[in-house]
């Protein structure tokens, strides 16, 4: 039996899709008889998945914001003073392996630093990467230490791995690509919605324009040709600060009759029983749960070639890929989709078959097994075709 420590760098929201893989894997490890301790950012209300983990036997530690910034900590470290806020927790819990989950590739690396100080092996589980955030001279060595010093680095897409290696300007030999879990059943097959009132697409993701690109949907649908077509889009997801701005944009362009904000949806299968296709104009992603779930529910998707979308969707077969998150390129992909709208149902059926043939039915159990393997001293070696897959996109 082993002791696993889980640390999440999540700070912007109480909970999110990035937290699903580690938290579910923690459940699996508890079921398998291991002990689990968790360090999570202090919240006003404990997120439900953490309450469940605690009931299941996990030990919680709530960490606050670091009192000192990165520069101050580095200066004090040069004087031999340890100000890392996580060392004490590691000393108390002495995990056999720490799983560090980071929402974006430039998130904080204090826990990795603490693990290295204490000689405790750790793995990094990166949930998204993109071009809006870059490592730089001031923090490059810290990040190289974090990623290259890990026993394994788990990515959710080859595109993310390529971005991180470009950021680090280094190869990560112990990289592996893992699958993210989903919120629908493996057998999900929601009914096809009525088409009498036109086609309804769902744009599923936090209301956060920087990452999820909902503004691009407004920019495309405000164009004259789209105003004449019976197509509506509902934005589903929790507010990450941009609900008001999105609402104002919809009003500004007089699109209230075809764009609406639906809020957070708990029942994803029920959501897909009311929508014909997914619209996912993300600017950066890891592996969007929304895309996995739409495909499992038999829905086609119009998505930007970001994160894992380029690997999961076959362009013009199971969905329509926009080459980049710009209004013109999203328009181009949506136009192709519109011209083949009578085939959406069949394409969705094919998407459901393909995802079940190629994707794990239980990603959290697979991930838990990988963690057991690493904690027992096993090594992770990257497959040689990953970077060539990322390069191949350009070829």
């Amino acid at each position: 039996m082993m002791r696993f420590g889980f640390y999440s760098a999540m700070k912007a929201l109480p909970w999110g899709g990035s937290e699903e893989l580690w938290s579910r894997a923690a459940h699996v490890l508890l079921d398998r008889g291991h002990s689990v301790c968790i360090s999570y950012r202090k919240q006003q209300q404990t997120p439900a998945p953490l309450k469940k983990l605690r009931r299941h036997g996990a030990r919680m530690r709530w960490h606050g914001r670091p009192l000192l910034g990165r520069t101050a900590r580095r200066s004090l470290a040069r004087l031999g003073l340890n100000t890392n806020p996580h060392v004490g927790w590691l000393d108390r819990t002495r995990p056999d392996l720490v799983v560090i989950t980071v929402g974006i590739h430039t998130d904080d690396c204090t826990m990795a630093d603490a693990c290295r100080r204490r000689g405790i092996p750790y793995v990094v589980n990166l949930q998204s990467a993109g071009d809006a955030h870059w490592m730089h001279e001031g923090n490059l060595d810290d990040f190289r230490g974090m990623y290259l010093g890990a026993r394994a680095c788990f990515f959710v897409s080859a595109e993310n791995l390529d971005i991180v290696e470009t950021n680090l300007a280094a190869r990560i030999p112990q990289a592996a690509i893992v699958a993210n879990p989903f919120h629908v059943s493996w057998q999900a097959a929601p009914d096809w919605p009525d088409e009498a009132d036109g086609l309804q697409m769902a744009c599923v993701g936090r209301l956060h324009l920087e990452s999820k690109g909902q503004d691009l949907v407004v920019d495309v649908l405000r164009r004259d040709k789209w105003r004449a077509r019976p197509l509506s889009v509902v934005f589903w997801g929790s507010d990450h600060g941009d609900r008001r701005r999105l609402n104002d944009l919809i009003r500004l362009h007089g699109l209230g009759d075809r764009l609406s904000i639906g809020g957070f949806a708990n029942d994803i299968e029920e959501l897909w029983s009311r929508h014909h296709a997914l619209l996912l104009p993300s600017r950066y992603e890891g592996s969007a749960l929304a895309l996995l779930e739409a495909m499992l529910c038999g829905r086609t998707a119009v998505a930007t070639t970001i994160g894992r979308a380029g690997e999961l969707l076959a362009d013009n077969q199971t969905g329509f890929l926009a080459a980049a998150p710009t209004a013109d390129l999203l328009d181009e992909a949506l136009e192709r989709a519109w011209q083949r709208r009578s085939e959406w149902r069949a394409m969705g059926t094919l998407a459901a078959q393909r995802i079940r043939a190629t994707y794990s039915a239980c990603p959290e159990a697979d991930f838990a097994s990988l963690l057991e393997q690493v904690a027992a001293g096993g090594e992770i070696h990257r497959r040689s075709d990953w970077v060539s897959a990322a390069q191949g996109e350009a070829a």
Binding site: D131, A132, H133, W134, M135, H136, E137, G138, L140, D162, T166, N167, L168, A169, A170, R171, L209, E210, D215, V218, D219, G241, D242, R244, R245, L246, D248, L249, L252, R283, T305, A323, A324, P325, T326, D328, L329, Q391, E393, A394, A395
Partner: protein, 384 residues
């Protein structure tokens, strides 16, 4: 008249975003106006500031704000009208202020102090992108800043659209202006003879904005390794040069990539290069595109900022629809197939830019500031 120039730039002591107001302020000082400047203090004093002081301008180099925007937000939430530079504004009492925002998310809360003192002002936005968004907590003051300005100067229609989307409000008093450039109008630049084909990527070494990483990610592909093409990076380091050099080593691109450092004489760059390669993720109006075109060079650029209006795809250059490896590769491939036409395309580029770009952007801008300050211009409707 008493004219105030406030710049938001914080990441650098000076930059391309400062040239328009800096040169216009110098000209206005020489025309006899009282010029006041407020910009962040750095250990080094930019040459342009020294010139301004010599021309009689009153330059205030403000300290870096200790509490940053968090402090300003907290003060605002308490309903207190306070700004660290309000005293400067009270002292200067300008007839007109120009607020230059080097990037659309920069803090422009100085505008509230202008509004309370009934000082008319214009905004001068030098760059915008959709990669970063105005913080929702700053949305209202930012809206107020742009909505209450006499004019919002921007450098491209694309930037105006980005700003409008960020603020989620219409911008009806936008005017597009040209930035000054650093070459003569018809420079004599010899064409470099012989192989390899040489392209120059000119700009600060800053992956987020200038996208130099994309060039390396394109060139690492097998097909480019066998082609006689050399790309030279010119420009100062802004945090990513070490990564660029390490990537060149990691991907064994030494035969195809060189580092030229900062070259003050632009003509010198073009005397050694056949074309521009500019894979920016965002821009306002890249001076390097204008300068390369004036120096009769074709341009391979991404469609951001003014690039899309300056470069005619397949005629005076090659435009990648977005800053991605795949789309840059596609544009560069078209360019490579047409490399024997680069010289002619460059000649055409010089003609086109001469037709589309002001011969005297600084004088034009100074005239507009004078007219605004004199109240001769009512709130203009959008040109964008």
């Amino acid at each position: 008249m008493r004219l105030a120039f406030y710049s938001t730039i914080t990441g650098l002591p000076w930059g391309g975003s400062e040239e328009l107001w800096g040169q216009a302020a110098l000209l206005l000082a020489r025309r006899g106006h009282e010029v006041f400047v407020n910009m962040q203090r750095w250990p080094e004093v930019p040459n342009r500031l020294t010139e301004l002081v010599e021309a009689g301008a009153d330059v205030h180099r403000r300290r870096r704000s200790r509490g940053g925007r968090g402090l300003l937000r907290a003060v605002r939430q308490c309903g207190v009208h306070w700004h660290p530079q309000a005293r400067w504004l009270s002292r200067v009492r300008p007839d007109f202020a120009l607020i230059t925002s080097s990037y659309h998310i920069d803090d422009v809360s100085i505008v509230d102090a202008c509004l309370r003192r009934r000082i008319p002002y214009a905004m001068n936005l030098q760059c915008a992108s959709r990669l970063q968004w105005i913080d929702p907590r700053d949305l209202e003051p930012m809206r107020r800043a742009y909505a209450s300005a006499r004019v919002c100067f921007v450098l491209s229609r694309e930037n105006a659209e980005i700003l409008s989307a960020n603020l989620a409000m219409p911008l009806e008093h936008v005017q597009i202006v040209d930035n000054p450039y650093n070459v003569s109008r018809k420079p004599r630049v010899p064409w470099p003879e012989g192989e390899p084909w040489r392209m120059a990527c000119v700009g600060r070494m800053h992956f987020l904005s200038k996208g130099q990483d994309l060039i390396l990610r394109v060139l690492r592909q097998e097909k480019w390794r066998s082609r006689p093409l050399v790309v030279t990076f010119y420009g100062q380091d802004q945090g990513n040069e070490r990564q660029a050099r390490d990537l060149v080593r990691l991907w064994e691109l030494e035969r195809h990539v060189e580092f030229g450092g900062f070259v003050p004489r632009v003509e010198e760059i073009w005397a050694n290069n056949h074309a521009l390669l500019l894979p920016s993720r965002y821009e306002g109006l890249p001076m390097v595109t204008v300068e390369a075109m004036l120096c009769r060079r074709a341009c391979v650029v991404t469609c951001c900022g003014r690039n899309g209006d300056l470069v005619d795809d397949n005629e005076t250059g090659f435009v990648a629809q977005a800053a991605t490896v795949k789309l840059l590769d596609e544009a560069l491939e078209r360019a490579w197939q047409a490399r024997h036409q680069w010289r002619e395309m460059g000649e055409l580029a010089a003609l086109r830019v001469d037709q589309r770009y002001s011969r005297q952007p600084v004088e034009d801008f100074a005239d507009r500031i004078e007219a605004l300050a004199a109240g001769r211009v009512s709130r203009a409707r959008s040109a964008a």
